[in-house]
Symmetry: C2
Subunit: 216 residues, 2 copies
DNA sequence: TCTCTGTGTGTACATTCGTTCACAGAATGT
DNA sequence: ACATTCTGTGAACGAATGTACACACAGAGA
């Protein structure tokens, strides 16, 4: 009651609203079922304030997709720094970084998993676009590291796409378990690692295998 | 206004309600955002009727999961009939059947894709359980056909799990395109086929590859 | 210093929601 | 034939929702 009604910083309420939406999603609510009043309530702000910052919930969702893009880029950067040499630990280290980021940005990845089959087409496309970008960057990195050099560009891109999808699907596993159920998280980590190993082994033998299938 | 208020058949309204929920989902709405009144309105029934048949929307969702199970089993049966010999067309034929069923039961698969990251934990687990069952059956079939006979049970199950996940992720691709955009559907079909080929090639070389990774 | 613009507040209203209740007509078992 | 049970109806409620409007106050530019 002392400092209410003050304007702290430009964009402060805006961030608070986005954060509140994410928090609700993190608590198990689905983004599509969130209402304007609900979000403003969680943010400790009057409903009208919402319209000062967003036109509707879809608008807010698109902003969240942008921020999600930043999170993904941070994750990619860390992976690039820590995983430089292409040895047999490449996959495991990358999965570790992935799991760590999911735990640190739990709500964002909740939102991402929901958005893939969400209500707003725009959000859906946005997330899909982020995944494409991620796959492309992954392909570039692998090229740079000299991994899978026998694959053509299209085939490498195909492989990376499958990798990203597989990892993305692991969200839905990860999100189902409590954040401190280490045993179960370890199990998901192992399983994801094996999935990726399976894919990479397939990619290693891809050309020949593909020719064999197509030749007949 | 002639025959209103008649009770047609037991469970008729019940089916109409489930069908209406699916229809709304098929129109792009997210299941989590559907309300009781909305569903009953779509079904051409008074809101109160809902409670005669379901306790709440989660309850209806669980029934839908059960029906989804039937759809999946039908799909599996057709695949078993039409894909008997394990030749190089196995994957393509299976993907064909899969695509055909998704198109024929569009709304169900919408619901499934949404439910994986949905609001109701019970529905989430139900869908997850259906996927596990599907993967197990797939593993049995492959065993019976003598495919991947060099893999241990655990590794075969791992492979099938990845296959099911990959196919499930293709839903979200398929659902984004118009049902009669044949060119795009064909593209998704091809891409999915290649994903599976990649996985199976990986599985073929799995033991050796795994040992090589683990041995060092 | 003064004005203007941006941002948050409070009030308000029509609409929609979930849920309850008493009632009516068809089906079912005896 | 009759009582019971099952299923759908209509009206009604209190609560929550989206959105509009007028107002208040802080900071930026003159």
């Amino acid at each position: 009651m002392t400092d209410r009604k003050k304007r702290r910083k430009p964009g402060e309420t805006r961030e608070k609203l986005m954060e509140s939406a994410l928090t609700l999603v993190g608590k198990g609510r689905h983004y599509a079922s969130l209402g304007i009043r609900e979000v403003t309530r969680q943010a400790g702000v009057v409903p009208t304030s919402f319209y000062r910052n967003f036109r509707n919930m879809d608008d807010l969702g698109l902003e969240l997709v942008d921020q999600l893009g930043l999170v993904l880029r941070r994750m990619m950067r860390e992976a690039r720094i820590n995983v430089v040499q292409a040895d047999e630990r490449l996959i495991e280290e990358s999965v570790d970084i992935f799991i760590r980021h999911v735990e640190a940005n739990r709500d964002f990845f909740f939102f991402m998993a929901q958005g893939l089959a969400g209500e707003s087409r725009a959000v859906q496309d946005g997330i899909r676009s982020e995944m494409r970008y991620f796959a492309t960057e992954l392909a570039n990195d692998l090229r740079r590291m000299g991994v899978m050099s026998h694959l053509g560009d299209a085939d490498l891109e195909l492989t990376c796409d499958l990798v990203v999808r597989t990892v993305a699907f692991s969200f839905t596993d990860l999100l189902g378990v409590s954040p401190d159920d280490d045993a179960q998280i370890q199990q998901i980590r192992d399983r994801t690692t094996r999935f990726l190993q399976l894919i990479f082994i397939g990619a290693e033998h891809w050309e020949s295998g593909r020719k064999a299938k197509e030749g007949v």
